[in-house]
Symmetry: C2
Subunit: 271 residues, 2 copies
């Protein structure tokens, strides 16, 4: 149980309220963390050129780039095309292996959830076409069913796998927070196979959970059997980093150095 430091990634969202782009890169590095996941708004604050320079000089590796979407209008192909190319170009400049796509409120796609899911499939096909020349890959991250209305109509790994079966080159990110409840999870992780697995995110489910979005727990403080899920992911062939991504009003109020220190400790004991 637990992973070595060289497998730890921190997602900038974990310290998003405390640290800006430069502070987060320096902060994670100070704790010996070799990987980080970037957010587009943090890059925008400082500018792409400077962000690329900071990353290059840090020696830190990028595990992923957040995020593509939500498109203001996913039916406007010109907007989808230019926005997608912009995000993928940034991601490649920053050395990110994948871009995470989040569709947003299902009513952007259609009036009913079922229709929205069908249209999302068509859009994923279009995005894959648009980014065919990029090394960087499109990553689908199913979000918890409690977020099905306003964050993403993609809510199970089965759905993501069905899409990957149909669209060449697309992969998935497994986040234990979003998927731990799923009785089909082990089977669907096995179904992914190595090539499709682009990321593995950890945090924990707090009891009670007081907010649908901003109340994730630190690994070990909740009820998710994280080692079991990591074992399944590694058995399926995943060899990349384990990314700590904690959206939490509580942890955002704490000293960020303390947050990262605890996150690294917990990766060694509870993951």
């Amino acid at each position: 149980m637990g992973i070595a430091l060289d497998k730890v990634a921190i997602n900038q969202a974990t310290t998003r309220e405390q640290w800006d782009f430069r502070q987060s890169v320096e902060g994670y590095r100070r704790h010996g963390v070799p990987w980080l996941a970037l957010w587009r708004d943090k890059v925008a604050e400082i500018g792409l050129k400077e962000a690329v320079r900071i990353i290059a000089n840090s020696g830190i590796k990028v595990s992923g780039y957040n995020r593509l979407g939500a498109f203001a209008d996913p039916h406007d192909r010109a907007v989808v095309r230019s926005e997608t190319l912009a995000v993928f170009d940034e991601a490649e400049a920053l050395g990110a292996p994948c871009v995470l796509y989040f569709p947003g409120d299902f009513r952007l796609f259609a009036k009913e959830l079922g229709d929205a899911r069908r249209r999302l499939g068509e859009l994923v096909f279009d995005i894959a076409e648009i980014t065919r020349e990029h090394r960087c890959r499109l990553a689908l991250e199913p979000l918890h069913p409690m977020l099905a209305a306003d964050r993403s109509p993609l809510n199970t790994l089965a759905q993501a796998n069905d899409l990957c079966d149909m669209v060449e080159g697309v992969g998935v990110v497994i986040d234990v927070y979003h998927l731990w409840w799923d009785p089909a999870l082990d089977a669907e992780i096995a179904r992914c196979g190595k090539d499709r697995l682009l990321g593995f995110h950890v945090s924990d489910w707090r009891v009670p959970t007081r907010d649908l979005v901003f109340d994730r727990a630190m690994m070990g403080d909740g009820v998710i059997d994280i080692p079991h899920i990591r074992q399944q992911v590694e058995r399926a062939g995943y060899m990349g980093p384990v990314e700590v991504e904690i959206f939490s009003r509580e942890w955002w109020q704490r000293d960020p150095d303390e947050v990262i220190e605890i996150a690294v400790q917990r990766c060694g004991r509870c993951v």
Copy 2:
């Protein structure tokens, strides 16, 4: 779209903060509602004998009895047996066709969610054995995955159907609030078939949802395609009432007569 008044049931939880047992029976009747679902704590307040008398005199029909569980210790077979018999005897005295079972926090069953689900299966088998002589049937209601930690490890209709396949006589209750997000819902409703469908509950998913338990919306005020789900349930053979069950701090603050009036109207337009 919409159902006739003779199909409307109101669950006592909908006015639980405003009306006691007698007031709710009289209140629903005043609005012409022919069905209601009972709660054990409301019955306990007034006593079983008086509750039976009030129901008998009201002419109102009982759609279900809430609830069996959570057992303080689901491994203690003597406790499970006596508690189960007590609840089923009450339910039959009150004329309820089914008792809803809610397992509670999965950690009552086992340390890990997967183990808890296996043990839940064994317990459902035991409960079915214990109640073999009762006319009243055991109903499994899958709860939303956001409640997987502390309310129920039964979180999809597929899981409930798997259990029903294995245990004779057990049925399911479909609640749109808990299941609307599931990409497999239509297929799993069809899989239920007529005999297994013991109830159909409606409310709506509010955007944003501010609480994991007590923020359900009135039908028509949220994003669930209720008529679509009702159509699937009826296509599968369900002919029973449509039960309004709204756990909401907001609606609990309103005049209960107004709540029931609106609920009945919405059943005629949005269900």
